[in-house]
Subunit: 221 residues, 2 copies
């Protein structure tokens, strides 16, 4: 058995592993007769690459022209606001900086927690308020907290603030499915993963896929 | 439609969301007639909680007495070494610090990259060498790079170093399945997710589940 597993390991140059992985993903999608929208292709494939979960090929949902809109924002130096430090850590800050953008996560700031406690609101709500004050175009990337999407919905409907783009991929079992459906009704351009699945890794993968289209246009994926 | 989604949002106190989520996971596992090993239960459930993917209930694989071994190491102040900054960001450093441990990730250190280039080896190999020099019990948590597991295998088989525990949950399409099978033959206690799935989020969830058993024994999950 040992010998077999060792024999199965093939030497692939580190630089080629990602290329090879995307080729395998492409083969498997063809076997499943799944044809991705050309505009969305690189984003959906990178989410599959980060999760090894082909379900995303059918559940990722894009508003009309979402990818073009997101690319235009990033090209213009938009910032990204995540709802976890994990998603923030997963986004290529160096590549984003080339475009003039930076990544923020307010969720774990001690003063956000203190303000949320004092006002009796969620940390997500305070974080979204902080995002609204950045003063430049903002993409919200939510991979964890449905409360962030619900807070955004309230801000949009209340005329308080509307982010320029929402990546809505929180994961979970309580209010997650409904919060995603809700944000898709708010007239904000979005990429949302319908259902329970998502996560900080998925949020970061979507951001990176968009960033790499601009900074590494020759790259696979 | 809008109204319906809004009506579906239920108010759950933030502190109760996780409890409620774990109750739902328990219900669904019962519906699927899946009974988890009591020792492994909290770990597997937290992975499902972080991924919304019930497949982990059947693919997570534990060496004999793995959970007890890992808890003993953490109780004794073991450090955790991850293979991504994302996994590092996802692990509760504060809770781990209560036990006397800390989290390291060497993978993105500029001098690790420089050394790997100079020696013509992978960054993962150099990172695992750094881990071997920490000088206290070490749990390797690998959610990304199968090369980290392959390097460990080489070190163990070559008598160079053996970590005290391996969490082997890299995700991907190239060498991932084989690297996981390989590390399970090396006589090191492990928690491995068989197959392609895993990720930094899964690695962090397993670490946190183990840490919380010690630091928040009353918690759900």
């Amino acid at each position: 058995m040992k010998q077999n597993h060792l024999a199965e390991i093939e030497y692939v140059r580190p630089a080629d592993i990602e290329k090879r992985s995307f080729a395998i993903i492409g083969q498997e999608l063809r076997k499943m007769n799944i044809v991705l929208d050309p505009e969305q292709d690189k984003i959906t494939r990178r989410v599959i690459h980060t999760s090894a979960d082909f379900e995303y090929a059918t559940t990722l949902t894009y508003s009309d022209g979402a990818v073009g809109t997101a690319l235009g924002l990033l090209r213009g130096g938009a910032d990204i606001v995540t709802d976890t430090n994990m998603a923030k850590a997963g986004i290529s800050r160096r590549a984003l900086a080339k475009l003039g953008g930076e990544v923020h996560c307010f969720m774990a700031d001690p003063d956000v927690a203190a303000e949320a406690r004092a006002r009796g609101v969620t940390r997500a709500a305070v974080s979204m308020e902080r995002a609204s004050k950045i003063g430049k175009p903002v993409i919200i990337a939510c991979g964890n907290a449905p409360t962030a999407l619900i807070s955004l919905h309230d801000m949009i409907r209340g005329g308080v603030w509307k982010p320029d783009f929402v990546i809505g991929v929180p994961v979970g079992f309580v209010n997650v499915v409904a919060a995603k459906e809700l944000i898709m009704t708010d007239g904000v351009p979005y990429i949302v993963n319908r259902g329970r699945k998502g996560g900080s890794n998925v949020a970061a993968a979507i951001c990176n896929a968009l960033i790499y289209i601009l900074t590494e246009p020759e790259a696979h994926g």
